[in-house]
């Protein structure tokens, strides 16, 4: 068994640009907004001297190293990571690993993407190969619905409540894109994208960038008095679930595998009781529902009871997507994982304003993407 990563690396600064349809901003503009906020948060005044390396994550851009070094004018080692929707979490993981192994002392992590420069309102329809069709992300993630609904009796109303919750939370987050309360009726009556997903079951599509400054845990207090420690970080990949003969279409296996590893690293045995706040990958409402179960927040098949009881709402037992999630921030893919780190750090440091979870000590963030074939999980905690 490996030595593990727990408590070796600290997050000492976070930043996040305004997410949205940033027509008048380039990737560089957003990277500068996020990185300089993170510098200021960490008290970094001379990045050229204080930052040893940059780890950047982007799915749409293939120019990450250039765009980051050019935007920030850093003459540093820059690595670009791309791993579907887990891209941001994977860039964070690479930064953590580089410090834990002793290669660098302080690094900058930047996740960003600019899908709104492509001229399409939704995600792309893949057109690379014959069999790539007919596939849209909504179509991939919807494939668990018919099976799950039939077996466990949940339906579109349960999904709608997740959208309503996240829309509400988004109204409390200054940097979210959508700031509008919606009702279950709104969700059920919206036009269908891919059954059972209507428009409100789908995450928004936005541009965004988020950043974090990481350093050695034993150096963290030289940056700020309330550093947040990395308890676990992992990214798991798996074969395509659509052709997997053993797939029951009741859960997404990459989350199950990644959760087991993350809890082992963090020493967590009862996630529902131990984790105080979580940011889950709500690219579609059903993805959040399945993740409650796949992450062990509740038993498989029982999510609808916990949705009904409000367990995952602000003020509930385990608040999920306190900032409104992908639903209201949108999903600039490379930015999302780092945006979740930003929210969790604010929560752990008591800086989350109206959406603050009381006395949050342990926070989890989760991404799942691809067909879905990739899952990233990061767990952060107070000292």
């Amino acid at each position: 068994m490996s030595e593990g990563i727990r408590d070796k690396v600290a997050v000492v600064g976070v930043g996040c640009c305004q997410f949205g349809e940033n027509w008048d901003q380039s990737p560089s503009d957003m990277i500068v907004d996020a990185a300089y906020e993170a510098y200021q948060d960490a008290g970094i005044e001379d990045p050229q001297r204080q930052i040893d390396a940059v780890f950047t994550g982007s799915l749409y851009s293939q120019k990450g190293p250039h765009e980051c070094s050019d935007a920030l004018k850093l003459w540093k080692p820059v690595t670009m990571v791309s791993n579907y929707c887990a891209t941001g979490t994977d860039a964070f993981r690479c930064g953590v690993m580089s410090i834990a192994c002793g290669l660098y002392e302080t690094v900058l992590v930047v996740g960003y993407d600019k899908p709104k420069d492509r001229g399409v309102s939704g995600p792309s329809v893949m057109m690379n190969q014959v069999r790539d069709l007919p596939q849209t992300p909504a179509g991939w993630f919807a494939l668990c619905a018919a099976t799950y609904f039939e077996k466990y009796g949940a339906g579109r109303e349960e999904l709608a409540k997740i959208a309503v919750k996240n829309h509400h939370n988004g109204t409390l987050a200054p940097k979210s894109f959508l700031k509008r309360e919606i009702t279950v009726k709104d969700v059920l009556e919206a036009r269908l994208i891919s059954w059972p997903f209507g428009l409100y079951d789908c995450a928004a599509q936005t541009d965004g960038a988020a950043a974090a400054v990481l350093t050695r845990a034993d150096r963290a207090r030289s940056y700020r008095a309330d550093p947040v420690l990395v308890k676990a970080v992992t990214v798991h990949a798996g074969p395509n679930p659509q052709k997997d003969p053993g797939n029951d279409f009741l859960s997404w296996k990459p989350t199950t595998w990644a959760a087991a590893e993350a809890y082992r690293q963090a020493g967590i045995s009862d996630p529902r009781a131990e984790i105080d706040v979580a940011q889950l990958h709500d690219c579609f409402t059903l993805t959040e529902l399945l993740s409650y179960e796949d992450l062990g927040f509740c038993e498989k098949g029982s999510a609808k009871e916990h949705i009904a009881s409000g367990a995952f709402e602000l003020g509930g037992e385990l608040p999920v997507n306190t900032d409104g999630g992908l639903k209201t921030f949108g999903h600039p893919t490379g930015a999302t994982g780092v945006r979740m780190i930003y929210e969790n750090v604010l929560q752990l440091q008591g800086r989350a304003g109206e959406r603050q979870v009381k006395d949050a000590r342990l926070a989890l963030s989760h991404n799942i993407g691809g067909h879905p074939t990739a899952c990233g999980i990061a767990i952060l905690g107070r000292e």
Binding site: Q135, K243, P245
Partner: protein, 475 residues
């Protein structure tokens, strides 16, 4: 009183010699009959910006209140050229813009509209630009007579170099030259008809109308600039109007070519370049009728800041080295898709996956017996490596494992039913067709049909789709 305060002109440097059209490469130092050609990085808008830049030399760009852009070949059917040109020229944001299009008279019509705006006081300074870059069928007569170029005028009420003294217009319906929505090339009816019933009578009617209205004789005009489709018709019109050679502005056939909506305006620039104070100028052009405009040069005409004029542009020549290069520059060479464009799905991927895509072939693991799709190196179930036999799945019957209705996938009749289908234990992600959405259910028996799946790359691409087994029974 409205007038012209400044002018500019642009001729692309490239020249196509008539001899080159005939297949002879140009000889060093030898200049024969030729036409101007906009190269592959030039069009009406870029040429218009170049002429506009010359025109605004020495003038405050913030003083321009309106831009009228005239062309029959602005690249967009919907989207304004004038706004783009205004942005390129760095004009004010609150500038009024409009395009004049559709007729060879568009340049003169835009000039008249500009004079009217200044005279009416709705704008103090109006920039009028005419540019054209017309395409004729390769090898046609029009290909030789056409040329590409642009002219620009800054119209103003104060201190003009030439005052506008009035115009006369004729409008009529005639199918002489045209290009419909779907045409690439300009078409012409029989040349003699075009001249005898179109160009010549229209031009004479407009010029004579202007003379009558202004009480002047043609001899009162020191410079007469006449649009014409070609050299012979130009000479014929001049003769009919009894215009002396020395008063006639050189139409530059064999050097520039007929630059469409920009032609009469460019000849007006030529007239202004050589005008003396007090001289009267006449410019006329045709196209679904005709326009004739009269102007008088003022004492300011000789004081205009020096600029790159028509002579400078005509002296700057870069002969096209072969007719094939001209065809490539204009996108007239034979090719199926634009270089750098989408060649479609990778032919090598299609080649590698033809067993799966075309024959719906999967595999059976020799070690554990599990079926899977597509072919792959490592078993999904027991992780055995390279130990499979091929199995054709196309003729078998499967069952729906799960499904969704995709309203986002582009199709003429949404939703697309998308299913995971199990056949012999293998899982296939595919469309369910020939079925109503209410037929979709977990466990639905399906068989497979070979269908077109999409047209990426401009060619039909094929794959298999699931259809409900007729009667619902498994064979």
């Amino acid at each position: 009183m409205a007038g012209i305060a400044s002018y500019g002109v642009y001729v692309p440097p490239t020249r196509l010699a008539f001899a080159t059209i005939g297949g002879k490469p140009p000889k060093e130092g030898e200049v024969g009959p030729e036409r101007s050609v906009a190269w592959n990085d030039e069009d009406a808008i870029t040429m218009g910006v170049a002429a506009g830049t010359e025109c605004l030399r020495g003038f405050d760009r913030a003083g321009v209140d309106a831009v009228f852009f005239a062309s029959t070949t602005q690249p967009f059917r919907e989207k304004q050229a004038a706004a783009l040109v205004a942005k390129a020229l760095g004009l004010r944001r609150d500038v009024a813009t409009a395009d004049h299009a559709g007729s060879l008279r568009a340049g003169l019509a835009a000039l008249r509209a500009g004079f009217d705006a200044v005279a009416a006081g709705s704008a103090r300074r109006v920039l009028v630009i005419a540019a054209d870059c017309r395409l004729a069928a390769p090898g046609s007569g029009l290909e030789r007579s056409f040329g590409d170029g642009a002219a620009a005028f800054l119209l103003a009420d104060a201190d003009p170099i030439a005052r506008f003294e009035g115009g006369f217009a004729v409008a009529d319906e005639l199918v002489d030259l045209w290009r419909s929505e779907r045409d690439r090339f300009v078409h012409s009816w029989e040349e003699r008809f075009v001249l005898q019933e179109g160009y010549t009578p229209y031009l004479l009617e407009a010029v004579r109308g202007l003379l009558e209205r202004s009480g002047a004789a043609v001899g009162n005009f020191a410079k007469v600039a006449l649009f014409a489709p070609d050299e012979r018709s130009h000479a014929g019109a001049a003769r009919a109007l009894r215009i002396d050679r020395e008063r006639l502005v050189d139409p530059l056939f064999g050097r520039l070519g007929n630059t469409g909506a920009a032609f009469a305006p460019m000849l007006l620039v030529s007239a202004l370049e050589n005008a003396r104070p007090g001289e009267r100028l006449l410019v006329a052009g045709t196209g679904d009728g005709a326009d004739a405009l009269g102007l008088r040069a003022t004492e300011h005409v000789e004081k205009l800041e020096p600029r790159r004029g028509l002579a400078w542009h005509l002296a700057r020549r870069r002969p096209v080295r072969s007719y094939e290069r001209y065809l490539k520059a204009r996108g007239l060479d034979a090719r199926e898709w634009e270089a750098g464009g989408d060649p479609g799905l990778s032919a090598t991927i299609h080649f590698r996956e033809r067993e799966e895509d075309i024959a719906l072939t999967g595999q059976r693991c020799r070690r554990c017996g599990a079926h899977q799709f597509p072919r792959q190196r490592v078993c999904e179930s027991c992780f055995a490596k390279d130990d499979f036999e091929l199995v054709r799945l196309a003729d078998k019957t499967g069952r729906v494992v799960t499904y969704t209705f995709d309203f986002f996938f582009p199709t003429p009749d949404p939703p697309t039913i998308v299913a995971v289908v199990e056949v012999e234990g293998a899982r296939l992600h595919m469309q369910l067709v020939d079925a109503a959405p209410q037929q979709a259910r977990i466990g639905l028996p399906v068989e497979f049909r070979f269908r077109r799946i999409h047209q990426v790359g401009g060619r039909p691409n094929y794959y298999w789709k699931a259809v409900p087994v007729p009667g619902g029974e498994t064979r």
